[in-house]
């Protein structure tokens, strides 16, 4: 069809007046092939040859030649009376505003039909975060970046245009680096300073090229290339501090106050075995003390109690000062780039070291990169390789979560009257009771005597050969390898208090595990690109791609360790107790994908472009052969209206484009997978996991349900299998417009999208008669989920002079998610949130708390009919408290330069989002079951019901109000995410010796401030409930980049 159009439109040759020849070179004098040469105001044009030369017949009216090339922008040269016109084209800094990198191709923005956000390397360069995706928050409209942990090197959760699936609710987008996939969560071993561009592909048109892997969006990264010329050497260094978080938002009681509260509870009939009550004068036993406490008289005993209570009152420790530190970070990096006429290179080596605020947490990273490309006649060879090694020390407390060994819990949970140090500075630890607390001492002793470490070797490498068969037709093959090789160790010293608490003898524990995850990819493509008659621009490609993944894991656990050597399992003693389980195992897995795909683009007069993509993936991840072939397609069009004749007179407009795309993109992540148990011992210490792709789809057996004394290993049905399973598909519509006015000084973009997930997996209950238990489910393809939204970007060059520039930018995205259909069911409760037809994903689902009953102090709740009850059993669970997936997301930027000074600021925000504050629930629970061991918020002193007639929010200590709507808080925030102030140091020569070409000195801050109604250290998290997480820390660094 398209071909017919092309042929029909193929018109005769233009009227010849005179022939102009010339050569196009870049600023280094290197020939520029494939540049477009057009006579301005006409459709007459040609392209330059391999040596940069061209020849064009110019009509009489032709006055100017326009030279253009992707990556090099556009240059206009007046012809005058010459017959030879040479042009010099410079690689443009503004590349990103002109080009969209889709991974398989680079397209001019005026020909790109979809919705993409291209970010320059500046957004990640030198940002002091261990995982670069942390730096993307607030940068791209519609890209939600929420960090669940401040552990250095942890990846945040990335969600593009809303949650599209229940099963794959938080599946990460596909990351592609120079054509090779890079799995999310390995970014701690990647140096983002090597990046050139980051492009977020959001709609169907570009994502369809990636087939079933593109359903959750694609993030395409390119890395830096060398430029022809003498070597450019850059050295970069950075030192900085990571700051303690703000723990004060809970408004915790100090020692005096919590001792008073313990006394209030005791006096009200709720005694606790705590100093505030046991030693209280109001305690009835105070006047009847027996001499068993070692005092001869009652008066002496009372004096002893008074003294103890007094000393508790005077111990008032602010634990965050002990439990957290100011983490020091530093980086060093050197990169060299350059090249000769046919060969260019970029190499780098870097070291990154960041200590987290938690005492054990740290990331160290060593990285190298070698990017190399050669042009040899018709052959172009590109070789990009990154190799990294990282050592991550993790916070064991964070992993343990709800544990007295978690610093992030004990910072607020522990009663402030514990003194963790002896007078000589040594630690007080051991068995802790509510009268003699050693909790903080135990946290610190635990950290000192344990290790949780991940060592990763990361390789991401790609080799591309492109052979130009003849002008316009290129055969291209990319072969890529991505490997993550992980070693894990969790060790606890045998000769420590925490070691004595370990299972199987109380002599420490050493669990180690190893995992390798390797992905091989080969993409072969034949691409035809030609401009006919300077009017018809055609590009068509056919591709064939193979992906193979190999995954292997193994692990073991040892107990009864030798305390003389650490941290190791060597010399461990014999197994201390009778044992039936094996504490070692291994598993392997993997998958293959075979794909064919094609892409076609046709552009007329650089005004109208239509594109279409189609892809077929076959994958071993789907067992049922009938469902194994997955089809993806998209089509789109863009109207470059600014090029229309009738727009010529509208001078204030400098850009106007209208875009639309539609397609169906399946999501491979939607298919349920299992993990093979790779145990390092007890389930809690499974350090690695190997994905079992086919397991959920086939009926399986597994060992389980052991029967004592039988001497035979029991085997039982593992799962029923799900033979009818097919992939979820997302139908994506995108309509967008780009507008610029005042010579591009003000730029505006808007996109509307409507995405419908079909064949949404819904968990269907299967009967207990199946043998899988009452409530067992299998996912069936039965539902529909919809995401609709609008994304806007606006940026303006407010000041644009030679010495001073000021650019302001804002981006905002609104997403409306709705579960439209759940097939056989209407709702699926998921604990504290619910999947229900008509509601957005992530709607909280709980009882509605209405404060304390003034007469009785009982907690009051709303019943289903809206009336009030004090009986929890009658309280109805509502879904009217919002959702933990924010509806509004955005960011704004300020970039200012004055001569050599540059200032860049980024603010990010989210709103229309609520989350459970479980931490606050603990400190405001108001019952002795909690406050025997949990410090309380001051609010309880004033806002808790204590006697009839009290009109208070929190219930009497006699009753538990439970976990409910009172724990749901607005989690909107505005974060001062990043600030960089830099000074460019000019060239420095001593005599005739150049010391440096240029240098840049900067101060950078990350997470500098946050404004939020949330009461807790951090409103940002990757789930619905805040409980003991590692908050995102504030960081300040100073850095120096030197170019030699």
């Amino acid at each position: 069809m398209l071909l017919v159009v092309v042929i029909l439109l193929y018109a005769g040759s233009a009227m010849a007046q005179r022939t102009i020849t010339g050569k196009v070179t870049d600023d280094k004098g290197i020939a520029v092939p494939n540049a477009t040469v057009v006579v301005k105001g006409t459709t007459v044009g040609t392209t330059t040859k391999i040596d940069g030369s061209y020849s064009i017949v110019v009509p009489a009216s032709g006055k100017t030649l326009v030279f253009s090339l992707v990556d090099m922008g556009q240059v206009e040269v007046e012809i005058g009376s010459q017959n030879t016109v040479n042009a010099v084209m410079k690689p443009e800094d503004k590349t990103l505003s002109e080009v969209v990198v889709t991974g398989y191709s680079r397209e001019k923005k005026s020909q790109f039909v979809g919705a993409a956000t291209a970010l320059s390397s500046k957004v990640v360069e030198t940002v002091p975060v261990g995982s670069f995706d942390q730096a993307l928050q607030g940068r791209a409209p519609g890209l939600q970046v929420t960090s669940g942990s401040g552990q250095p090197g942890t990846s945040p959760q990335l969600t593009i245009r809303g949650i599209k699936s229940v099963q794959a609710a938080f599946a990460q987008p596909l990351f592609i680096v120079d054509g090779v996939p890079l799995p999310a969560n390995d970014f701690q071993t990647i140096n983002p300073n090597d990046f050139e561009s980051i492009t977020v592909l959001k709609d169907a048109s570009a994502a369809a090229l990636y087939g079933a892997r593109g359903g959750n969006g694609v993030i395409v990264i390119t890395t830096k290339k060398g430029k022809t010329g003498a070597p450019q050497v850059t050295y970069r260094t950075q030192v900085g501090l990571t700051q303690k978080p703000n723990w004060n938002k809970f408004d915790m009681m100090n020692s005096q106050e919590i001792l008073l509260y313990e006394e209030i509870l005791g006096a009200a009939g709720f005694p606790t075995n705590t100093p505030g009550w046991v030693y209280s004068k109001k305690n009835p036993s105070y006047n009847t003390l027996q001499p068993s406490f070692g005092f001869p008289t009652l008066a002496a005993q009372q004096a002893g109690f008074d003294k103890r209570l007094d000393s508790f009152k005077n111990i008032d420790v602010y634990y965050p000062d002990i439990l957290f530190r100011q983490g020091i970070s530093q980086t060093h990096e050197i990169n060299v780039s350059g090249g000769a006429e046919r060969m260019r290179y970029f190499i780098s080596g870097g070291y990154f070291d960041q200590k987290g605020i938690e005492l054990a947490s740290r990331l160290r990273r060593y990285t190298t990169r070698f990017n190399f490309d050669v042009t040899a006649g018709k052959l172009n060879i590109t070789f990009n390789t990154a190799i990294g090694y990282s050592i991550t020390h993790l916070s064991e407390g964070e992993f343990l979560g709800n544990s007295a060994r978690n610093s992030f819990q004990m910072a607020w949970r522990a009663k402030p009257y514990e003194n963790p140090y002896n007078a000589d500075g040594s630690l007080i630890f051991g068995a802790s009771t509510s009268l003699v607390k050693k909790e903080i001492g135990n946290v610190l002793e635990g950290i000192e005597n344990s290790l949780w470490r991940q060592n990763q070797i990361k390789v991401n490498s790609g080799l591309t050969l492109a052979y130009r068969i003849f002008s316009g037709l290129t055969l291209k093959n990319t072969f890529g390898i991505d490997v993550a090789d992980d070693r894990w160790q969790r060790w606890i010293n045998a000769n420590s208090y925490v070691g004595s608490l370990q299972a199987n003898g109380g002599r420490g524990i050493n669990a180690e595990a190893y995992e390798i995850n390797a992905l091989l990819i080969n993409t072969t493509g034949l691409v035809y690109a030609k401009r006919f008659n300077n009017k018809h621009d055609v590009e068509a490609g056919g591709y064939f791609e193979l992906v193979r993944n190999h995954n292997k894991g193994l692990g073991f656990t040892l107990w009864n360790l030798d305390p003389r050597i650490d941290p190791t399992g060597q010399n461990a003693g014999s197994f201390p107790v009778a044992q039936t389980d094996q504490y070692a195992s291994s598993a392997s897995g993997g998958y293959g994908i075979r794909s064919f795909f094609g892409t076609v683009r046709y552009t007329l007069n650089n005004k109208y472009t239509i594109t279409a993509n189609a892809r077929e993936d076959g994958t071993s991840r789907i067992v049922n052969e009938d469902n194994r072939e997955i089809f993806t397609w998209s089509a789109g069009a863009i109207w470059n209206a600014i090029s229309e004749d009738f727009m010529r007179d509208i001078n204030f407009l400098s850009d106007l484009k209208l875009r639309a795309s539609y397609g169906a993109v399946p999501s491979i992540g939607s298919i349920q997978t299992f993990n093979y148990a790779v145990r390092g011992g007890a389930a809690a210490t499974n350090l690695v996991s190997v994905t079992n792709y086919q397991g959920p789809q086939v009926p399986t057996y597994t060992t389980g349900s052991q029967y004592a004394n039988s001497g035979i290993t029991a085997q039982v049905p593992g799962n029923s299998g799900n033979p009818n399973l097919q992939i979820e598909t997302i139908r994506k519509l995108n309509i967008g417009a780009d507008l610029a006015v005042l010579k591009n000084r003000i730029r505006f973009g808007v996109d509307y999208y409507n995405e419908k997930t079909e064949d949404l997996f819904v968990n269907l209950q299967i009967p207990a008669t199946s043998g899988f238990g009452s409530g067992a489910t299998i996912p069936i393809n039965a539902g529909i989920m919809r995401n609709k939204g609008v994304e806007m970007t606006l940026s303006a060059d407010v000041i644009s002079t030679k010495d001073m520039t000021l650019t302001l930018g804002i981006n905002h995205a609104i997403n409306n998610n709705e579960i439209e259909d759940l097939g056989p069911v209407s709702e699926i409760p998921q604990g504290t949130f619910i999947i229900r037809e008509g509601l957005p994903y992530g709607s909280h689902y709980t009882t509605h708390y209405l404060g304390a009953d003034p007469a009785t102090g009982r907690p009051r709740y709303e019943k289903e009919d809206g009336s009030v009850t004090t009986n929890l059993a009658e309280a109805y669970r509502f879904a009217k408290f919002g959702t933990f997936v924010p509806k509004h997301l955005g960011g704004f930027t300020l970039d200012f330069t004055y001569k050599r000074i540059t200032l860049s600021a980024l603010f990010s925000y989210q709103f229309d989002v609520t989350r459970y504050n479980n931490q606050e629930n603990w400190v405001r629970r108001g019952i002795i079951g909690y406050h025997t061991s949990v410090n309380a918020s001051r609010t309880l002193l004033t806002e808790q019901w204590m006697k009839p007639g009290d009109n208070k929010f929190y219930q009497s200590p006699a009753y538990d109000r439970d976990f409910n709507s009172s724990d749901i808080q607005d989690a909107k925030f505005l974060r001062f995410r990043n600030l960089v102030v830099s000074y460019n140091i000019p060239e420095l020569n001593i005599g005739s010796t150049r010391i440096l070409k240029s240098a840049r000195f900067y101060i950078q801050g990350q997470n500098l401030a946050i404004w939020s109604p949330w009461r807790g250290p951090d409103p940002e998290d990757n789930n619905n409930i805040s409980l003991n997480e590692y908050p995102n820390p504030k960081m300040v660094v100073v850095g120096l980049d030197i170019n030699f």
Binding site: L465, Y467, Y591, A708, S710, V716, P717, S774
Partner: protein
């Protein structure tokens, strides 16, 4: 340059060739159904998996205590809806603790898979063919046993036209419907008849089904069917095969140091199967064996039960109950259920005890009831002689009684069942089976409204969990009184 093109083409072709393999990448670490049960030995592993799923035993023990007059509230109470008979079809306690459909249909599914596969399974070892028949027999026995347990939870007293449960004979994830009791009981009887000859008559391994266990179940089923002649005959067969324990050794049964009276037990260790005594008292005490911190007591024996024994002469009192001085000293309620207490406090096997499924004591009571119902309530070979024989094996210095009427005999039998079979999973079913009311002492009831569950109340039948009604697409019929 040409050789590069050639290399590219070769690579391209190689890629094409390997692509079919990519689609057939198999999971190498899975046991798929088609290889799971290919040998007799694998089938035995699957049968062991069925025994390992018999956690319904503990469920029944707890239910019959909590729903009846055996237990009273102790130091922790969150079971109001069940203890006070307030449950609906969506009750959380029922869902989490008493969904008998989960364990028993699990066992049934597991044995049905063996029954499907075992005939064609390869014999790889000597003796496999004998084992094959035994495995089939065990599968049929467990299937009948599990269906009988389900019947007791969800169905009314026996009536051939009454509604039973689905009788599962092949594995299926599709919804099924309830069948009538007539065919349901016939299927159980058929399964047992087929199982019996191929089970070991020896009692050397009572951890797995024995021929006498089938006899015990036949007696029990006949009792529920009010088939008195069969109940008497089967109970007699059991009693003849396994007499009552000598009185001096009775306590050893509950220390797991004697296998007296038991034809089938469910083996438990702290690691596998867990602590049955944890049903009443937190599983493992803190502290040390010499200075234990006894865990929270969740249920204690009812005063009604406690007071029913002669604490001096009845050996059951000491074997079943305990007045713990350590608790009394701590100001805590001191009466404990001691039947499954296991090893001493704060030692590894505390509260661990095997589950005794069939016991001669029960068989005497079945036979006594069957004989009384046949009006053989006094004289030789009567209810009277059975009760006297049983009591003589339990009470030191016991003086035989005589029954003047059938009703007197029945009342005595019911009281004796209460005392003999306490915490063995019978009480609530017995009250229901005899059409009686649950009657608690005021001192045992958590509230004044939870003293009596009137005879014939709809809550004697547990609700089919609402999720199961939904999962069956409405095919499964709910019990009367629930919606």
């Amino acid at each position: 340059m040409k050789y590069l093109v050639k290399i590219s083409l070769v690579l391209f072709l190689a890629a094409f060739v390997s692509c079919s393999k990519l689609l057939d990448v198999k999971e190498t670490d899975l046991i798929t159904e088609d290889v799971a049960l290919t040998t007799v030995a694998f089938n035995e592993q699957a049968i062991i998996g069925a025994y390992g799923a018999m956690g319904g035993f503990e469920m029944g023990v707890l239910l019959n205590g909590v729903f009846s007059d055996e237990l009273k509230v102790a130091e922790f109470y969150n079971a109001g809806t069940v203890h006070e008979w307030q449950y609906s079809s969506t009750d959380v306690s029922i869902r989490d603790t008493y969904t008998a459909m989960t364990p028993y249909y699990r066992v049934i599914d597991r044995v049905n898979r063996v029954l499907q596969a075992v005939d064609a399974a390869d014999s790889t070892r000597t003796g496999d063919n004998t084992l094959r028949f035994r495995l089939k027999a065990e599968a049929l026995f467990l299937r009948a046993f599990s269906h009988f347990e389900l019947y007791k939870y969800y169905c009314a007293n026996y009536n051939p036209d009454g509604l039973a449960m689905p009788y599962m004979e092949i594995p299926s994830i599709n919804p099924v419907t309830r069948i009538k009791m007539g065919p349901y009981f016939q299927k159980m009887k058929d399964d047992l008849a087929a199982a019996k000859p191929n089970l070991p008559s020896s009692l050397s391994n009572i951890s797995r089904a024995t021929r006498l266990a089938v006899t015990g179940l036949q007696a029990r089923i006949a009792l529920y069917m009010r088939d008195w002649a069969t109940a008497e005959a089967s109970a007699t067969e059991y009693i003849n095969g396994l007499p009552l324990s000598p009185i001096a050794d009775f306590y050893k049964i509950w220390k797991d140091s004697s296998n007296n009276e038991v034809a089938w037990r469910l083996d438990r260790t702290s690691a596998i199967g867990g602590r049955i005594g944890g049903l009443w008292r937190a599983g493992l005490s803190g502290g040390t064996p010499t200075n234990p911190q006894i865990g929270t007591v969740t249920w204690r024996p009812s005063d009604k039960l406690w007071n029913s024994y002669d604490p001096v002469n009845d050996v059951r009192f000491g074997a079943y109950l305990k007045d713990e001085p350590r608790l009394a000293a701590a100001g805590r309620g001191s009466r404990l259920v001691a039947k499954y207490a296991g090893t001493p406090y704060a030692t590894p096997e505390e509260n661990v005890n095997h589950g005794k499924v069939f016991r001669t004591g029960e068989m005497y009571l079945i036979r006594a009831e069957a004989r009384a119902e046949q009006n053989k309530y006094t004289g030789a070979n009567s209810a009277e002689s059975d009760i006297n024989a049983l009591r003589a094996a339990r009470i030191t210095g016991y003086v035989p009684v005589t029954f003047a009427s059938k009703n007197e005999a029945i009342d005595a039998i019911m009281l004796e069942r209460f005392k003999e079979l306490a915490f063995e999973g019978h009480r609530f079913w017995d009250i229901k089976r005899r059409g009686l009311a649950v009657t608690r002492l005021a001192s045992d009831a958590p509230t004044s409204s939870a003293v009596t569950l009137p005879a014939g109340n709809f809550r004697f039948l547990l609700p089919i969990p609402n999720v199961e009604i939904q999962a069956s697409g409405g095919l499964l019929e709910q019990n009367p009184g629930y919606n």
